[in-house]
């Protein structure tokens, strides 16, 4: 078709250069590429590596002394004597090229022949394991993922030290060649889920993959939905917990978050702290969160609807307060609400973008000054100010940041429909969102699972969290290989047959 112009022939970085001489020539101009000939008494070879990618100390300490010693006569000797595991001897140009660029050393006997040794010497660089900053918790473990995929896998694996713990690695991105690892517990994770994930990741046609959340968007069931369909977390304990339930985790190199798949909507509103508190307390926190979300999504829309169309719903005494508060405001409730909502959004966005130290100050100054001043100036009513501030707070009660932004976003369609059709509009908008949620799937599993389809055993860990020893089943929607978490019979046998009477 005429609107689909033929693009220029794209350079495909997947195709390897033809010969090793080409590769070396291509890299030669880079200042950090080292390529030299070593001439020893018994053995002569060509060494090449990228200085910025390899651990130079390690090469000087452990590799060169062996290579330069008199024991080595040919390349096979070198392979046998070098004190390094996982040395590859290959002629495959694709392997050579990718390894060289990842930080391996290449040793050739002849500069123009591709027969060579590939020795791993990757420089590990990055920050130390740190405290979680997004999903903070007051009690419980304080480790969070970092940018190195190996460290992240280590954090999870040490929590599940069993041989069934499996890792599968693949590379994504034509140019970035990002390492993506799928972690699961064999025998518990559902095979179908696993295959779906692998299929989706290998089918990706992208140039570079930066982050796990980026991957989550790319492999989502419905990429047009405003609801995140895969849970992202920076807590290794949460990942390990989910894997024991039969879920699958995906970690991406260079990303301090892991994805948990498949997930349901209630998991986005569950903080991991809930499992560290007594169940009545944890349950009431979850219910509080649920209320907060409902409040956050609907409060300003209800304000618009009630004050614009349905003032007969307001009791007389409350009406008096509202009238006094709104008497100096010169325009409709919708304008007032939009003004304040956008102001709060600005504060939030500024707080996120500004450097930490400035950000806090600006947030406080902005919040207090703008808030009080706008009420005193008569631009907004103070009741609305309370409502909006509370709903902004309530939105960020959501433990997951991506879900919190969704909740912040959702209120705008509600406000606009409230202006158009009043409470009826709010109801229609709510219907549309709920219908969307009913349709939504996460990895082919229903997204609002314990509610529809109804699964009573999964409801034990949804809006409320029942005692942990009552949760003997793994989540049903996962169709895990082993549905039981613990052996019910043994659990009952340990308790004994009869409970003693009073004073017995």
């Amino acid at each position: 078709m005429f609107w689909k112009k033929k693009r220029l022939d794209q350079v495909d970085p997947d195709t390897p250069v033809k010969t090793i001489a080409d590769l070396i020539n291509q890299l030669k101009s880079n200042p950090d590429f080292t390529h030299f000939k070593h001439k020893g008494e018994t053995f002569t070879c060509w060494v090449s590596f990228i200085q910025t990618m390899v651990d130079v100390d390690y090469i000087h300490r452990d590799i060169f002394p062996v290579l330069y010693s008199n024991r080595v006569h040919n390349i096979a000797d070198a392979q046998a004597t070098l004190p390094v595991e996982k040395i590859i001897r290959t002629k495959d140009m694709a392997v050579i090229q990718s390894k060289l660029l990842e930080g391996f050393i290449i040793i050739q006997e002849n500069e123009n022949r591709p027969d060579c040794l590939v020795i791993p010497s990757i420089k590990a660089q990055g920050r130390q394991v740190d405290q979680p900053e997004i999903e903070t918790s007051i009690i419980g473990p304080r480790e969070s993922f970092i940018e190195s995929i190996d460290a992240n896998i280590n954090l999870v694996r040490k929590r599940i030290p069993i041989p069934q713990f499996s890792v599968e690695e693949m590379r994504v991105g034509k140019m970035s060649r990002t390492r993506v690892c799928i972690l699961y517990v064999e025998g518990i994770a559902n095979k179908e889920n696993l295959n779906t994930i692998k299929q989706r990741i290998t089918d990706l046609e992208i140039v570079n993959l930066i982050d796990a959340t980026n991957l989550a968007l790319l492999i989502a069931d419905n990429s047009n939905s405003i609801f995140p369909q895969f849970l992202d977390t920076e807590r290794p304990d949460r990942v390990a917990g989910a894997m024991c339930e039969g879920k699958i985790a995906v970690v991406v190199d260079g990303s301090p978050t892991a994805l948990i798949l498949p997930s349901t909507i209630v998991e986005f509103f569950a903080a991991y702290d809930d499992y560290f508190l007594a169940w009545p307390i944890a349950s009431s926190y979850r219910l509080l969160r649920l209320f907060a979300i409902a409040f956050s999504a609907a409060s300003s829309a209800l304000y618009v609807a009630v004050l614009t169309y349905h003032y007969q719903l307001v009791p007389k005494d409350l009406m008096g307060t509202l009238i006094v508060s709104r008497s100096s405001v010169p325009y409709d409730p919708i304008i007032e609400v939009l003004l304040l909502e956008i102001m709060i959004e600005l504060l939030r966005e500024a707080g996120a973008r500004l450097p930490t130290k400035v950000g806090q100050t600006i947030g406080i100054v902005g919040g207090i000054v703008i808030g009080t001043a706008s009420v005193q100036a008569g631009v907004t009513s103070n009741i609305l100010l309370i409502i909006i501030a509370m709903s902004a707070l309530a939105a960020f009660i959501t433990p997951n940041y991506r879900m919190a932004t969704t909740i912040r976003f959702i209120r705008f369609p509600f406000i606009i429909s409230a202006q158009i059709l009043g409470l009826l509009g709010v109801a229609l908008c709510f219907m549309a969102f709920v219908c969307h949620l009913i349709k939504l799937t996460s990895l082919g599993r229903p997204f609002i699972e314990p509610i529809y389809p109804v699964r009573v055993t999964d409801l034990k860990d949804a809006y409320i969290r029942l005692p942990l020893n009552q949760q003997t089943m793994r989540p049903l929607f996962l169709r895990s290989g082993d549905a039981h978490r613990s052996n019910q019979k043994r659990l009952l046998a340990k308790k004994g047959k009869h409970s003693p009477d009073i004073d017995e």
């Binding site: 009826l424 229609l428 219908c435």
Partner: protein, 368 residues
């Protein structure tokens, strides 16, 4: 028609939620005043009778469908085709289409009528039904599983609406129920007849049945669903009799709304608007299931027409028919029409169909 894929079937609980969602609806707002017209304080007996009779009809329906299972898809369309042949079967199917679309339009229009009286006097029938049909379209393209999801949610959302009945208790006059059995059988039966409209809807199981997994378990859920509906209606009638005086009850068009106007909270003057809006939720499964049934029926008759395309036509037709009904009087007439045809459909036609099925079996000389 192709065999139904297992990924598109629904669990046995569907037999509870689908008839339930189809039955309970806008009818119950005016239910109490309509039913008590003829039989006064004895109306609850009438409601009980028609409720129990629905159980019998459900038995007929399940019998009919189970007998049909060995010949192919157990739904009404294939029953018609098999028993009456292609031509007469198609005519009967067309008549059932008319019933289904009538049901959906009557429902949609009567809730718009309530919205126009209670909330927005100038609410445009056209724009509201277009907005609404967009949501319905979005549901129905997701298939039967999504429709079941909406049925389930509408059940959940209606629970708070029905629990407002608790506010009747302080104002209940139990002497309103006396004298019991003051009315003749004829009065009571005529009350039962008018209460049929409220009970209509469970016959949609005739169309959904092939999509239900493990139909054996589904049977008890189907009866249980009918009993729940009966209980709900019985409660509504009893509480309305206890709350209102007889003359007042019969002169109110929507007694439930009048009652909701009297319920007060510290931050709410009255709750009628909120209850009506929650009731809107009940409209979604009804219209979705009706449109789904029609689209499926069209595909059954003309296998080349895809459901996703015929659905658009059906929704446009629903909108047009809804707009054609202009005022409250016409809404009432359409309601009465659906009531009568529904009465004929469930109490006369379904037993007749079961009889025809039996006759066909005898005539074709199969052993029992």
């Amino acid at each position: 028609m192709k065999k139904i894929n297992e990924t598109h079937t629904v669990g046995p609980l569907a037999a509870f939620f689908i008839p339930q969602a189809m039955q309970i609806g806008v009818g119950f707002l005016s239910f109490a005043s309509v039913v008590t017209k003829a039989s006064g304080q004895d109306a609850w007996i009438a409601v009980l009778i028609s409720g129990l009779s629905t159980l019998l009809v459900m038995w007929f329906i399940l019998r009919l469908l189970e007998n049909e299972r060995k010949y192919g898809t157990p739904d009404l369309f294939s029953v018609h085709y098999r028993i009456f042949g292609k031509r007469i079967g198609a005519i009967l199917n067309f008549l059932s289409f008319l019933y289904v679309i009538g049901f959906s339009v009557a429902y949609l229009r009567s809730i718009i009528e309530i919205l126009q009286v209670e909330i927005f006097n100038q609410l445009s029938t056209l724009s509201f039904s277009i907005l609404f049909c967009l949501i319905v379209w979005y549901i129905v393209i997701g298939g039967i599983r999504n429709i079941l999801g909406v049925c389930l949610l509408s059940f959940i959302y209606l629970v708070p609406v029905f629990s407002t009945a608790i506010f009747v208790v302080p104002h209940a006059h139990f002497s309103n129920l006396l004298p019991i059995f003051d009315h003749g059988l004829q009065d009571i039966l005529s009350s039962s007849f008018v209460s049929t409209f409220a009970y209509l809807g469970f016959e949609f199981l005739l169309f959904v049945y092939p999509f239900i997994k493990s139909p054996k378990d589904a049977k008890k859920w189907a009866y249980f669903g009918l009993l729940t509906t009966m209980y709900t209606y019985l409660m509504i009638v009893l509480l309305s009799i206890l709350f209102f005086g007889q003359g007042e009850l019969q002169n109110t068009i929507w007694p439930a709304l009048t009652f909701w106007k009297s319920v007060r909270f510290p931050f709410l003057e009255h709750i009628d608007i909120i209850c009506v809006i929650i009731l809107l939720w009940n409209l979604v499964p009804v219209i979705s299931l009706c449109s789904w049934v029609l689209a499926r029926g069209i595909k059954f008759t003309f296998p080349n027409v895809k459901m996703k395309y015929s659905l658009i036509g059906i929704l446009i037709l629903t909108i047009v028919l809804t707009v054609l009904i202009q005022n409250g009087e016409q809404v009432k007439q359409v309601g009465a029409l659906i009531n009568n045809s529904g009465f004929i459909f469930i109490y006369l036609y379904i037993p007749l169909l079961l009889f025809c099925q039996w006759l066909k079996k005898i005539l074709s000389g199969e052993s029992a």
